[in-house]
């Protein structure tokens, strides 16, 4: 009698345990469910690597554009070595399959075309990464934490992150007009409020330009920069031969308030423009504090 009772109890509870193990989240396609927390994870965007590091999980494969150095040192320190699966735009599907992952996390815009093929390799979580804002990235990080079965760890890390950002923001003067842009040979791209870096700077209390023609990033000319005339100009050079360096030789450059007050700073393009995520935002914040207090910005390794 008692044993039968135990059997019945177990037969009711055991499925409950396995259901409790199953994870259900919302991604860009709707509902996404995993039977059990994944052991082997492949990620196809750099912001996802950041989220995994925050949750304390190491991916076995990353689409790192064949350059592991692109990932922030702070993030790399948390991770074991991984296998490169090619570029973010065109990940090598055969390499991904050979790694036998339990979960693939892909960008909902870039990888929509290969979703079917990715799903045939492993369950694929589609989240927005490219063109995301700071707040959207934090939401994605929370989803990733949940899907990895590390919900509590991720929530703790997010709380710590918000605290740190608050601390940084309190050290900074409010409402400063800041322009951040990336400079290549032929063009200077302004990162407006709608871009990732722009939204991080806004969260820190800076006044960042609104999007021009509804584009989060836009290429602006020297005339437009002169019209905006920010208090601080922060530039990330993607190339040694860059247009902002040419502009600095131009006599019109001296008409910029920022140039006159020596408030032009150069930052690392990788950590400010390419990487997105919890670690990246904290890096940007600490760099910004250093810049605004005229301290040298520590170089990225």
């Amino acid at each position: 009698m008692f044993t039968r009772f135990i059997c019945v109890l177990l037969s009711v509870l055991l499925p409950g345990f396995s259901i409790a193990q199953a994870i259900s989240v919302q991604d860009s396609n709707g509902d996404f469910t995993l039977e059990r927390p994944p052991g082997r994870v492949v990620v196809l965007e750099l912001s996802f690597v950041d989220a995994l590091a925050a949750a304390g999980v190491s991916p076995i494969g990353v689409a790192d554009d064949n350059d592991p150095k692109r990932i922030l040192p702070a993030v790399r320190d948390h991770l074991k070595p991984w296998q490169s699966v090619g570029t973010r735009a065109q990940p090598a599907l055969e390499t991904i399959a050979a790694l036998k992952p339990d979960l693939i996390i892909a960008d909902s815009a870039r990888h929509a075309g290969i979703y079917r093929q990715l799903s045939s390799i492993a369950p694929t979580l589609m989240l927005k990464s490219r063109n995301e804002t700071y707040e959207q990235d934090l939401q994605s990080a929370a989803v990733i934490g949940k899907v990895l079965g590390k919900n509590t760890e991720m929530q703790q890390r997010l709380a710590l992150h918000r605290q740190r950002i608050q601390q940084f923001a309190s050290q900074l003067p409010k409402g400063l007009k800041v322009v951040f842009g990336t400079s290549r040979e032929q063009q200077f791209n302004l990162h407006s409020r709608g871009s990732y870096t722009g939204s991080v700077l806004t969260a820190l209390g800076m006044a960042v330009s609104a999007p021009i023609n509804q584009a989060a990033l836009s290429s602006i000319s020297l005339e437009q920069l002169l019209a905006i005339n920010p208090d601080w100009l922060i530039v990330a050079h993607y190339r040694p031969q860059s247009i902002v360096r040419d502009w600095q030789q131009d006599p019109l450059w001296q008409m910029l308030t920022a140039a006159q007050n020596n408030q032009v700073a150069v930052v690392d393009s990788n950590s400010w423009a390419r990487m997105r995520g919890i670690f990246a935002a904290e890096h940007i914040a600490s760099d910004l504090v250093a810049i605004l207090y005229h301290r040298p910005v520590p170089p990225a390794q």
Partner: protein
């Protein structure tokens, strides 16, 4: 046809040019520039205000380069159409633009510091000359009695080839995608005094040279035999004119990227306005070319204000329907 009324024939385009030039100095600027400030900046005197500095350092060189560019490409188009006796010949259709762009992209992929100065203009000219030579050989451009469209088809094929190789270079070299794509559309937004001085020697030497040959080129419009009997050394003339065309186009591409449709449309406009005599057609072509280029640059600023589009893209949007109309009329 305006050949009988020289005042309107010449005064009209000149006035138009002056008007658009003045407009280009102050219109659609993110930093407001007054229409009088545009003029006063040009007069001698101290430049104190931002808007005047903008006019002197940004707007003026940009407009001047637009004038030189328009004139050079228009003349190149006139020469090509005369040389090949083909009303559809132009630097872009005959692959010169594509070849010059390919040369520039390949050199910039290997060593970006080369992308400036006279050496790059000559390199672009060489690239353009090479692709153009291929087109002429493939399309039997010398054989003007034969099938005219063979030349155009050859040009399209070679342009497509150069474009594909350009894209291949971009993919293999680095991820410049947006930047080079922007440049490939052709535009003068980045132009300063340096680019003006880079372009000026070529225009100053070659445009008058072309005009000096105008009377001999008039005879070339008839037929090879008539020209020969009148004592013209065809081979030499052709070589010289080809050289002039390739240098003009190369210098323009090195400054502004490949700009299309000017060389195609302006000769027809000039011919309709003033007739077939190259001695008159070339100068009018220069005026019309300058006006068209300035106009395209103006529109490029206006359409997405305060952002800017490349002027070449605007020219293409205007020029493509005109091209269609031209083909329908002329064939």
């Amino acid at each position: 046809m305006m050949s009988g009324r020289p005042l309107i024939a010449w005064g009209g385009p000149l006035a138009l040019l002056a008007g658009i030039f003045w407009l280009s100095l102050f219109s659609w600027s993110p930093v407001p520039i007054g229409s009088w400030q545009a003029i006063s900046a040009l007069l001698p005197g101290k430049v104190s205000v931002l808007s005047q500095a903008l006019v002197l350092n940004l707007r003026l060189p940009r407009s001047l380069v637009a004038i030189l560019l328009g004139a050079s490409l228009a003349v190149a188009g006139c020469l090509l159409q005369t040389l090949t006796r083909n009303p559809l010949a132009s630097p872009s259709l005959l692959g010169i633009n594509a070849g010059a762009s390919l040369a520039m992209v390949v050199t910039s992929a290997f060593d970006p510091s080369w992308v400036a100065g006279y050496s790059i203009a000559l390199l672009a000219a060489m690239g353009g000359g090479l692709s153009w030579g291929v087109v002429m050989l493939l399309g039997r451009g010398w054989d003007t009695a034969g099938d005219r469209s063979r030349l155009i088809l050859g040009g399209v094929a070679v342009s497509a080839l150069c474009a594909a190789l350009t894209r291949a270079t971009l993919l293999l070299a680095e991820d410049h995608a947006w930047g080079i794509f922007h440049w490939l559309a052709g535009g003068i937004a980045h132009v300063r005094w340096r680019e003006f001085w880079q372009l000026l020697p070529f225009s100053i030497l070659l445009l008058p040279l072309a005009w000096l040959f105008a009377s001999r080129l008039n005879l070339l419009q008839l037929s090879d035999d008539s020209a020969r009997t009148l004592g013209i050394r065809l081979g030499q003339l052709r070589l010289l004119v080809n050289l002039v065309v390739v240098l003009l186009v190369g210098s323009c591409v090195s400054v502004a990227g490949p700009v299309a449709f000017l060389g195609l449309l302006v000769p027809h406009m000039a011919r309709a306005w003033i007739g077939n005599d190259l001695r008159l057609m070339l100068p009018i072509g220069m005026l019309f070319g300058a006006v068209l280029m300035l106009l395209a640059d103006l529109l490029a600023r206006a359409v997405a204000f305060p952002a800017e589009l490349p002027a070449g893209a605007m020219l293409a949007l205007i020029g493509a329907p005109c091209f269609i109309w031209l083909v329908r009329r002329r064939t």
